[in-house]
Amino acid sequence: MACENNQLLLDGYFDGELDLVRNLEFEEHVKSCARCAQELQAQQGLRDSLRAANLYERAPESLRARIRAALPAEARPQPIVMPRRPVLEWLAVAAAVLIAVFLGARVLPNIGGQSRNLVAEEIVASHIRSMQPGHLYDVESTDQHTVKPWFDGKLDFAPPVMDLKDKGFPLVGGRLDYVDHRNIAALVYQRQKHFINVFVWPEESKAAKLPEAQTMQGYNLVSWSHDGMDFCAVSDLNAAELRQFAQLLGQ
């Protein structure tokens, strides 16, 4: 149980339904009240198991059909009627489909390789753009505890942020970037005069993987996956040091 008279507030807080002032007050209160903190944990435990238990009951298909039949005709969804086409036109469509399938079969094996390269090109382009004055970071900080929360609410994933200052690769900031049709995190590190951009996005099993190491337009790229995330570090730093950096991050 929450402490005296706080159960109602606690549920309101738990549901995100308190007004700003009371929300802040309660947040402060929980910091110093073990009972309320424990109670919040219990509420979360209950919510987690309710969510995991799959209790939502969906309308069976038979019921949908029954209701559609019982409703007056004007309320029912209209079936989609295909316009009639003359036979010759259908033949042309069929031929086009055949040709597309035939061409597709010949071209498709290359698509994976191409998209990998496109992503690498985008990453290099983004790295170059970030080197232009004022484009390097949205959040400038050498503190991982400042950089990581900055991404909260800006991305649909939480990129891991590590400072490698004591290894000679200090963190200098982070920014939002856009690669391969999605928002991703870019973390910026420094090695002496060289900047390293580390692009981070959630791993997609279907997506083609970038090669472990490659060179493009004079920049070195090292890619790896870790904990469900894909990483790609890009820099004008020499390949050996960049690989060393990647190993420090990837472990």
């Binding site: 549901d15 209950l46 009951e57």
Partner: protein, 186 residues
């Protein structure tokens, strides 16, 4: 709700506005009447009512509008067929969890509650607590939306949720204790 004109065009057609919420309607009905047969009847009846009253729909939260009709349909059904359901002791006394328990012990127990236990515990709750919990935790509605569906003030929604959760937790812990006594759990 009142006039019997057909669907105001500004708010969209019945098909666009009401039919998409059939899952929500069925979920609420199923948790209120607690069996699939009656739940299907409730949804069908509610949908025919919704069609009849669609002229009075002013736009706005369509899901809440549909669920309100579903709920009213279910409560009419209770009045006619299961008056005991509504006469239930709404706020039965539950003993408060002991405070000597190890911190986090209850959270861990609740987290490990399985689907069958949760289903039974939720089914046993008085209907007024069951409905706010289903609307909040399964349907993901805000207090304001729940207030609209159930026709009570938001403060009542909040206290209903607080008491409902306390009772649900109590039942889960009791169920767990009973199972342990019976030695069903390893």
């Amino acid at each position: 709700m009142g006039e019997e004109k057909r669907g105001p065009s500004s708010a969209g057609s019945f098909e666009q506005v009401v039919l998409p919420h059939m899952d929500a309607a069925y979920n609420l009905a199923r948790w209120l009447v607690r069996n699939t047969h009656d739940a299907e009847d409730m949804v069908q009846e509610a949908y025919l009512r919704a069609f009849k009253f669609f002229g009075g729909y002013q736009g706005g939260d369509a899901r809440a509008w549909v669920l309100k009709i579903v709920r009213n349909t279910c409560y009419s059904f209770f009045e006619k067929n299961r008056p005991a359901e509504l006469a239930e002791e709404f706020d039965e006394k539950v003993h408060t969890a002991s405070t000597t328990e190890e911190p986090g012990a209850e959270a861990a127990l609740l987290k490990s509650a399985d689907s069958r236990m949760l289903r039974e515990a939720l089914d046993e709750l008085p209907v007024n607590f069951r409905e706010v919990l289903v609307l909040r935790e399964l349907e993901g509605m805000s207090y304001k939306e729940i207030a609209e569906v159930t026709g009570v003030p938001m403060g009542t929604v909040m206290s209903g949720l607080a008491r409902g959760r306390t009772q649900l937790r109590e039942r889960l812990l009791n169920a767990r204790a009973k199972e342990e006594q019976r030695g069903l759990r390893k």
